[in-house]
Symmetry: C2
Subunit: 276 residues, 2 copies
Amino acid sequence: MTYCVGIKLDAGLVFLSDSRTNAGVDNISTFRKMIVYERPGDRFMVLLSAGNLSISQSVREILQVEQLKEDPEDKESLTIWNAKSMFDAARVLGNAVRHVYDRDAEALKYTGVEFNVSLIFGGQIRGEGMRLFQVYSAGNFIEATPETPYFQIGEYKYGKPVLDRVITPDTRLDEAAKCALVSMDSTMKSNLSVGPPLDLVVYEANRFETDKIISIDMQNPYYRMLHSSWGQKLREVFDSLDDPVWDDAQTDTPLKTEGGRSKPLKKITRPEERLI
Amino acid sequence: MTYCVGIKLDAGLVFLSDSRTNAGVDNISTFRKMIVYERPGDRFMVLLSAGNLSISQSVREILQVEQLKEDPEDKESLTIWNAKSMFDAARVLGNAVRHVYDRDAEALKYTGVEFNVSLIFGGQIRGEGMRLFQVYSAGNFIEATPETPYFQIGEYKYGKPVLDRVITPDTRLDEAAKCALVSMDSTMKSNLSVGPPLDLVVYEANRFETDKIISIDMQNPYYRMLHSSWGQKLREVFDSLDDPVWDDAQTDTPLKTEGGRSKPLKKITRPEERLI
């Protein structure tokens, strides 16, 4: 399994990925799922991948040489290195996915393996703002907007609530990095097939390069602090909430009220009794 | 979809279920997923169901009349009302599932519908302690133990972390009810196909009946308090954690350390460059 998240803020971009893959629980390996493409001053792009590892590795390999020729007469083909917009770069990526599909999908089908890959691709090319895309197995893609400023791929459920509570376009970059790490921590706690080391990249808008790239293992001081404090403080919050009180005379927030609107459950008390 | 949770504690049992069903997002209905079987002084049992509604309703109907005859010579057949143990009652329930399977599975298969039902069944019969079971589509079942004192069915992921952090066999009953409601709240926030009203039952050990049965809608004062306080305090906890500091000279918990163990990511800076 995999968990990756990409976040687009006014201030920049945050990318975080785990690095565990598995072919069954008895076959766990470590593969990095993030690649950074950088030409300082000109373009900065990050690719995160989930799904079948043979597909995502092929996509990454092909992306390096992929040339999207729409008109055979064109002298220069489109690549992620000469694309003038992130949208065009995402089209090159989508094309790389289709290239692998054409090569592998039929053979995979024979062995009952679905053609399954999902990608997050974001960055900035000089001349336009930052953009963030999610690319699907069919090579089609969607772009993040202010209403939904992040994408997740892989095991997304455990880590989604904290993103929904925290991330908006005006979230600060370091705060978003913290949020991504908490989201990853919740995921790793509940799904053993998501695991360290973690790769984190923080990109500041209009820099076209970054030095905030780090690989985080379980000895990392900041991650250890986050992991233990989050768990402990969540428990404190839980304890600070009132327990339910059944008798409505004793509290402002009774569990049972006189005029409860929903029909209470009927108990069945004899074998011959029927529901409803 | 559905979310139900059953918890077995030293002090008693807690059951919570939502009541939303859907056949596609454009076809949402309300069906209760909990039934309470009670013969005061003798037995108290609760059944929660998830999966295909036609199957779970048939199972519930059949359970009322199901007679498990193992030896055709037996004068009295086994039912949930005369079973001497919860284990035997769970066998009757498993048999009801198989009964529906024999009747419906083949026809469902013709229309491409999987035979899918999952059940939580717990309670206490005079003469033994409380027991809690999860019953699968094949009619087989597992029992909760002190190491894993709860079962979830339906959309379990969003609500699992808080259960894992809080529930142990010595958790108090009201605390466990609060935990189940927080777990449900997180699930409803992230999955629209889980919805109110909620049915909550709290059973105290060795009572063989309960009056702590309530249907909770979104106007319920306690639920409203829990919903808003949990969200707000989670955010406060998040804000109270330090943001990452990249420069390791300034903090006890640097994100970037001199002797980082995991190999940092390599950036790709030219088209012809290759991974690793």
